[in-house]
């Protein structure tokens, strides 16, 4: 078919027609028709048009055509950007032709070139964009500024800073925004004067927040004195400065202190006035800044907004910092109708740790049943013995969660009367109380309670027996093993289960016969824990009973536990039992087999794991990857590499690449380096490589000698992102690369890293 007819097909109502036409046009390299098809409503058609353009043999030619069409037919810039992005990802150098266009005669083409360069994430464009700041056309200058911001071009800071004094609003706003993105602190002094300008004020505040350090605190604080101060923006800027200072130097509090010193009475009033009506998005920042300023007024203002979920965390942090000064204030809020607020207040009182709060919290124990757990926790943190009796009252609470919280609170009080009281409580008539008492007595091993604890193993109530059994194992007493033996013969499965779990702490030789017997228990969960414990104590003789359980137990969870046990024992025999389960129908069995094999160091475990990498179900392949990663050893890197290269499932591929990085051996690093040749994998691999450590830099740098240009370029990126002096040193090798793009990438990376060398775009 010839082209005019094909072009007509492009407007056919039938999607299939348009799709075929685009494919043919793509093969013929018909640029303008393909560009038209970028507007098609069908994504399949658009995708093939983009791919067709990206394959075109004359990229610079395409770019010029694209830009001209942009101008003449008001094409959508988003679509063109995506074409160019696809070209760039296919290793077509789009930067050089765009930079040429930026120096061309036609202003609108220069605008588009600047725009698109801003989207390319390629710092080689910086020098040309800097030149464009002097372009005769204001729109070109505007877009060049924006593009420099998008590129985060640190080298542009000086010139952008000079623009701020130009008095030209049309350029100052984008310059402020660009400087915010770039985030270089040294520009702050040039931004501060703009605070005097009511029109530029808010934008300047935001930029100071994005770039500034200590020196911007005073001017921002002073601005709060102005009647029309942009209070929310100032608070956001101050907290941004705090966070950056904190992550860079671990000294955020310094910013808070300086702010507190710098803010005047008027400024404080402005902040407090803003609090009640602040939009939810600004509330956290405002609350933080107010929280830096100590004093009764600020605390009251903060407590007023406790009920607002948006800033709750910030308010609590601030109030906790006020310490015991706000205890009384917080206590009044224990009556708040909102349960969340009350809970927040309780947690804050616990963190402040002021004993003055104890009576109020004790009262809460009596009537706020929803808050028992946090209240017990707070009393534990305060550690005041007045809470002792009221907490003891709750040891018989019907909910295990509450009892557990109360027990740990009591334990943290360390009350001298506790041993005697525990002995007493172990004989209480309420079984829940006896159960709690057993836990406390066992935890501390009180001498007074030892006999009672053994007696409790025969209590009438099963839960008491269970608690006692769990706790006698911490005692050094010859009655432990006989008692556990007796318990294993009792009726209640939950108690036998506790006894089996307790056997981990018993001398293995003594535990062994009991565990063997427990494997025959009628109760599923007794067998389950027996299998687990056998794996944990690592008795090699256990492999046979475990194998039998793995193969034939009626309960799936027991089979899983037995497999885990086998994995822990290891050895060839374990492998022969486990391997067949990779094909099990039940996903839990297959997963358990793979995970257990990952624990086996013996080389025999490798082949079944490799076969799991080819399993039909992607989840199982994912498990195989983590098993291999955990196991390491010979053959692992190769297998992961194979999966990363061939698997159809994206999540599996990503997991394999991540596992290679985790493995971090020379072979694994080489594999990651090679994968950067694939545009779809490039970013993930570069990020993974950049995250490697000092000892692996040499292996990464070997990629600078790779035969593929794309790989060498990616390695330059990875080394640059490492921001390590030795990696930077290695980067210099790339300055001699035979390929211009690689050389340029290395040069601009070195310029940013402060390594030397002039930026040049031509060769």
């Amino acid at each position: 078919m010839n082209e005019p007819a094909l072009t007509q097909k492009l407007t056919s109502p039938d999607e299939a027609d348009r799709y075929r036409a685009v494919q043919t046009l793509a093969n013929q390299g018909a640029v303008s028709e393909l560009i038209l098809a970028l507007r098609d409503e069908s994504w399949r058609v658009r995708r093939d048009a983009v791919n067709g353009l990206a394959r075109h043999p004359d990229p610079p030619g395409i770019i010029v055509t694209l830009l001209k069409m942009l101008r003449e037919q008001h094409q959508d810039i988003g679509a063109l950007n995506s074409v160019i992005a696809v070209m760039a990802a296919s290793n077509v150098d789009v930067i050089v032709p765009l930079v040429e266009l930026l120096a061309g005669d036609e202003a609108d083409l220069r605008i588009y070139a600047a725009l698109i360069l801003g989207h390319q994430q390629d710092l080689r464009a910086t020098p040309a964009l800097l030149n464009a700041l002097d372009d005769p056309d204001a729109n070109v200058r505007f877009h060049a500024i924006e593009a420099l911001g998008r590129l985060r071009a640190a080298g542009a800071v000086e010139q952008l800073g000079q623009l701020l004094a130009s008095g030209d609003f049309f350029l100052i706003f984008p310059a402020l925004e660009a400087l915010s993105r770039i985030g270089e602190a040294r520009v702050a002094s040039q931004v501060v004067p703009l605070l005097a300008d009511p029109l530029l004020r808010a934008a300047a505040v935001t930029t100071l927040g994005a770039v500034g350090q200590t020196e911007v605190v005073e001017p921002l604080a002073a601005l709060l004195d102005e009647p029309q101060a942009p209070v929310n923006e100032i608070a956001a800027a101050l907290t941004a400065v705090y966070d950056r200072y904190d992550s860079q130097f671990g000294e955020g509090t310094h910013i808070a202190d300086r702010t507190a010193q710098a803010i005047s009475e008027t400024g404080l009033t402005r902040l407090l006035d803003a609090l009640p009506n602040a939009p939810a998005a600004s509330l956290p920042d405002l609350a933080r800044v107010v929280g830096w300023l100590e004093g009764a007024t600020t605390a009251r203002a903060l407590a007023q907004i406790l009920s607002q979920p948006a800033a709750r965390r910030e308010v609590v942090e601030a109030l906790v910092r006020h310490g015991h000064h706000v205890t009384d204030l917080l206590i009044t809020h224990l009556q708040d109708p909102d349960a969340e607020t009350r809970q927040t207040v309780v947690l804050a009182l616990g963190r402040i740790g002021d004993p003055t709060a104890v009576p109020a919290l004790i009262k809460l124990l009596a009537f706020d049943s929803d808050l028992l757990v946090p209240t017990a926790g707070a009393l534990a943190q305060i550690g005041d013995r007045r809470a002792f009796e009221p907490l003891l009252e709750l040891l018989g609470h019907p909910h295990a969660v509450v009892r557990q919280a109360v027990i740990s609170a009591i334990n943290s009080l360390g009350h001298p009367e506790m041993p005697a009281r525990a002995a007493h409580l172990l004989q209480d008539e309420n079984p829940r109380v006896r159960e709690s008492a057993a836990r406390i007595a066992g935890y501390f091993g009180y001498d007074e309670c030892v006999d009672l604890l053994f007696a409790a193993c025969r209590d009438a109530d099963a839960a008491v027996r269970q608690a006692a059994v769990e706790n006698i194992v911490y005692l050094e007493d010859e009655r432990v093993v006989p008692t556990l033996t007796a318990v294993l013969g009792e009726d209640e499965a939950s108690v036998r289960q506790a006894a089996v779990r307790a056997l981990v702490f018993v001398e293995p030789r003594a535990a062994w016969p009991l565990l063997l017997a427990a494997l025959e228990d009628d109760a599923t969960w007794v067998r389950y824990f027996a299998a687990r414990v056998l794996g944990q104590i690592g008795f090699v003789e256990a492999w046979q009973p475990l194998a039998r359980l793995a193969q034939a137990d009626p309960a799936f969870q027991v089979r899983v536990a037995a497999m885990e046990g086998l994995g822990a024992l290891g050895g060839v025999t374990a492998v022969t039992v486990l391997a067949p389960f990779i094909e099990a129908e039940e996903p839990d069995l297959a997963r358990a087999a793979v995970t257990a094999l990952g624990q086996v160091a013996h080389p025999a475990a490798l082949p079944p794991l490799l076969s799991a990498l080819r399993h039909d179900r992607p989840e199982l392949r994912l498990h195989a990857i983590s098993a291999l990663e955990q196991r390491g050893g010979q053959g692992t890197a190769g297998a992961l590499q194979w999966t990363a290269a061939t698997d159809e499932d994206e999540s599996v591929v990503q997991a394999a690449l991540t596992a290679l990085a985790e493995l971090g051996t020379a072979a694994a690093v080489a594999a990651l380096v090679a994968f950067t040749a694939n545009p779809a994998r490039r970013e993930l691999c570069v990020a993974a490589l950049a995250g490697l450590g000092e000892t692996q830099i040499d292996w990464v740098a070997r990629g600078l000698a790779h035969e593929k240009t794309a790989v060498r370029r990616a390695v330059v990126d990875a080394l640059a992102r490492m921001k390590h002096p030795y990696a930077t040193e290695q980067l210099k090798q790339a300055l001699q690369d035979e390929d211009t793009a690689v050389r340029l990438a290395a040069e601009s990376a070195l310029a940013v890293l402060g390594g030397s060398s002039e930026l040049t775009i031509d060769n």
Binding site: V401, A555, F556, Q557
Partner: protein
């Protein structure tokens, strides 16, 4: 706030297994960012069962598959935030438009209204109150069914006693008319008029269960503020189950912050009396 997740660790692999199992059984879906939340909600169950890890709980739920364990589980997962007169314009539309229309078409036939995730009961009680205020309960045979998957919620609903936060939107006049203070509660607890409470049939039902939906389906279904916890896939399936079991015309009310617009459903979205309603016609 996390009380338990610090002591009991929920590894990613266990999180995924538990999450998928819960999703399958309840429709409720926990995004990856909600791992800590899930750990917090389920830790008490692990502790109470005398277990050592979340995997133990997973196997218990999956293989023992005990009704009682699952009930505890749903109680732990369910979020029962609700109040009288919540998103009232929909109830108003029911009273002013849907019910009169039905009455003119089937004056003698019982109209069933189903509140399909009633939590502690404020929603079906609001419906009953509003219908009573408009004198429909005496003019038309109306059956109100309220169900929830959480036993704990239903127990509370059956008691019919409510505290302060439940009344945040109810006009004070109606509170005065239909509620009496519980003696000795210092005005903190209020009991709903038995005449209204007694009109409602309370029942345990899981929206993911085909048989439950088949049994309770009605021409008017209120299913509000549940789908926010569901995966899109469970919303889709639930809505399709409603559609299949509902007579024509049928009216489905969902929460104001919920929307079916990303899903393909056979319902048509209509504005009725100022409220949005999904209609089967």
């Amino acid at each position: 706030m996390h009380f338990f997740s610090e002591t009991l660790n929920l590894p990613d692999s266990a999180f995924k297994l538990l999450r998928d199992l819960i999703h399958q059984r309840t429709g409720i879906f926990f995004e990856p960012g909600k791992k800590e939340l899930l750990a917090d909600k389920l830790s008490p169950l692990v502790i109470e069962r005398g277990f050592a890890s979340f995997m133990d709980l997973y196997y218990l739920l999956k293989y023992d598959n005990n009704e009682a364990d699952w009930r505890q589980m749903i109680d732990a997962l369910s979020v029962q935030e609700t109040y009288f007169w919540r998103e009232f314009d929909q109830v108003q539309a029911l009273v002013d438009e849907v019910v009169p229309q039905w009455a003119s078409m089937h004056p003698r036939q019982t109209l069933r209204i189903w509140s399909a995730a009633c939590a502690s009961g404020e929603e079906p009680l609001s419906i009953a109150l509003a219908l009573n205020e408009a004198r429909w309960l005496e003019r038309l045979p109306i059956e109100i069914i309220a169900s929830d998957a959480s036993q704990k919620a239903l127990t509370k609903a059956r008691q019919g006693v409510y505290g302060g936060r439940s009344f945040r939107s109810l006009p004070p006049k109606l509170k005065e008319k239909y509620f009496t203070a519980v003696p000795g509660s210092n005005g903190r607890q209020w009991r709903i008029d038995e005449k209204i409470h007694g009109r409602i049939r309370w029942q345990l039902a899981n929206l993911v269960d085909e048989a439950d939906v088949a049994e309770l389906a009605a021409p008017v279904i209120f299913c509000r503020n549940v789908f926010i916890y569901f995966s899109p896939e469970s919303v889709q399936n639930t809505v399709q189950r409603f559609f299949a079991r509902m007579p024509t015309p049928g009216y489905l009310f969902i929460g104001a912050s919920e929307s079916l617009f990303r899903l393909t459903t056979d319902f048509a979205l209509r504005e009725i009396g100022g409220a949005f309603v999904y209609v089967k016609s």
